[in-house]
Amino acid sequence: MSHHTTPSKGFWTPANILTAVILAIGLVLTVKRFTMGIGSVTNLTDDNPWGIWIGFDLLCGVALAAGGYTTTAAVYLFGMKKYQSAIRPAITTAFLGYTFVVIALLYDLGRYYRLPYPLTIYPGPTSFLFEVGLCVALYLTVLAIEFSPALWEVLRWKRLRYYAHSLTLVLTIFGVVLSTLHQSSLGGLYLIAPSKLHPLWYSPYLTMFFFVSSIPAGLSMVIFEGGLSHKFLHHKMDDRHLAESSGVTLGFSKAAAVVLFAYFNLKWIGVALDHNWQHLATGWGAWFLVEMFGFVLVPCLMYAVAAREKNEKLAFWASILTILGIVINRLNISLIAFNWQLPAEARYLPSWEEIFITVFIITLEVTVLRICLSKLPILHEHPEFKGAH
């Protein structure tokens, strides 16, 4: 996201050249992955069957796409109509986020072409992964319908737009139910492996931790992207979006502060419940404290101050810290504190090709997002549908 979208500067700006290079190398690696196997591009082993494609692309991707359900719930269910203009950017990000989570998953699945199996002919409902799959598939459908009015407006298909729009309330409730379930289920995946995940991160409350932390994650993404749009896509935003954006930032800051505080306390209840205090004195304990204080409590307080003093800049920095904290938490659970008892030489470190494919998918997502933001009525209202919410 940069200034280069302005046509006067030409297409081959530095940012676009970088994008093109990443996409080109990514395509080569994609061919390698699908012709020579997962092993040809990853450092995955029998001890470490899940790497960053699950730990980062799936776990962080889904958590950071939580802005969709948090924003729609705030506006449509809890009556915060003044945040209306935050809806479309949040839904767009969520929709693209989930779409690319599924695309990334295809790289990781050994037999990607069987992705529909669990939802069709061979359901395995005792698995938390089944719940994740089912809810993500349904929620992706919900997001597609919620996203579609922007498309129908551009195409001037008023009837479809009307139908999609009339479903708003039902879709919002459905979206919150599905998000509650799959956000928590991602934590639930690790409930079955208490012997592999470090006790400070393992807890019977994992499902609740994942759900609760997804709320500040989603709110922070809305604040973060709002800040970026304000800076780089100012010309694409109409008066309403510009006028409401500071209200959205400060209102969401307040909510994020409250939920982060609740999350901070819940995590300590988790430590207390299993009586894991003795682990705090170890190296792992120090790392746990860094996560808890540096990336949960500190952004929580920053948000609180930002909301009270109406300081949007502080809220922006708090959102970055919160997002980093969510990423650290998910990586801790899936990779860093997972298999903590294995000898060092058996531990997992991603290969450069694995990392590059992740970068490739993110670049692809950002590129599509940039196109959507500049071509579709997302940061501004379509002139023919003004005020039609």
Partner: protein, 355 residues
Amino acid sequence: MKRRKFIGMLAGAGASLAASPASAGGTHHFTGYPNSFGVLFDSTKCIGCRKCEAACNKVNDLPAQPEPFDDLSVLNARRRTKHDKFTVVNKYEVEGKPVFRKIQCNHCLEPACASACFVGAFVKDATGAVSYDAARCVGCRYCMIACPFEIPTYEYDDPITPRVRKCTLCESRVKEGKLPGCVEDCPKGALIFGRREDLLTIARERIRKHPGQYINHIYGEREMGGTSWLYISGVPFSQIGMREDLGVTPAPELTSGALSVVPAVVGLWPVFLTGAYALTKRKEKIAEEEQRHAVAEAVVETEAQAAIKLKAALDKAERDKQAAVDKAVKQALKEAEEARKQDESSDTESNKEEG
């Protein structure tokens, strides 16, 4: 293992909620299929000859290994199962003496892999084997995350049809009445194949008869809810690479409580959320009504005030009019009086003149 009837709970969300985590975990205890088979490994008898590895390789048609099976130097490295090695023997030095331990799928009574698989590709058979169906597998490798014994392996280098690979307990051979490959070729009787119940009896008997030779623990009797493979040893199991901190909870029970919350969320969340929506709507409606009320009241008040003002103005006009009339009348009367007086005086004067 379809013990948790998750679908049924989803269907009867409300009903199952009342009994939730308790019914999900279940008060009954699954002790394995009756008469199912298992293998007892006696580490005091194992000499680390790798004959079992060779047999396993042969009966399962696994690819040739770079090191021949009579090369015993590989025993010194920490090895684990691989996609082309369903069993390995590792050597441990305990108090200066070598102790050997064989690794392969333990064929849990309630397998973590089967509970974790989202397409039901793993099944615990009545024979005792935990079998894998590659025709269902999507390749998510969650079974490998879930397995507490780190047994399932993956064909990472196959781009199209990679499979999870692991020991099958030679199920097809067992059904033909043969022994598993490894058991058949063990020259020292370190492996005994039989019904799990009988194996437990044998193990207990050995421990009872030779208390100095064995530690008093049958590994697999209760670990993770029990396994079809059982182990006895002369040294603590933790010293031969076997985890003693796994607990006795069967893997499915680790997730059943949290999974039982799912129907509750499906059942209750829409109610709460619709409630929140209704409250919001109601608040908006009340606010709207109050506003309308206030406006109406203001209008009435304004109108009343206007009426009062109008009346006052009218009254004033009336009063002014009356005053003007009075004034005019007064004036007229005064003028008339004056005229009369003048007449009178002129009459007197004329009378005087006449008189």
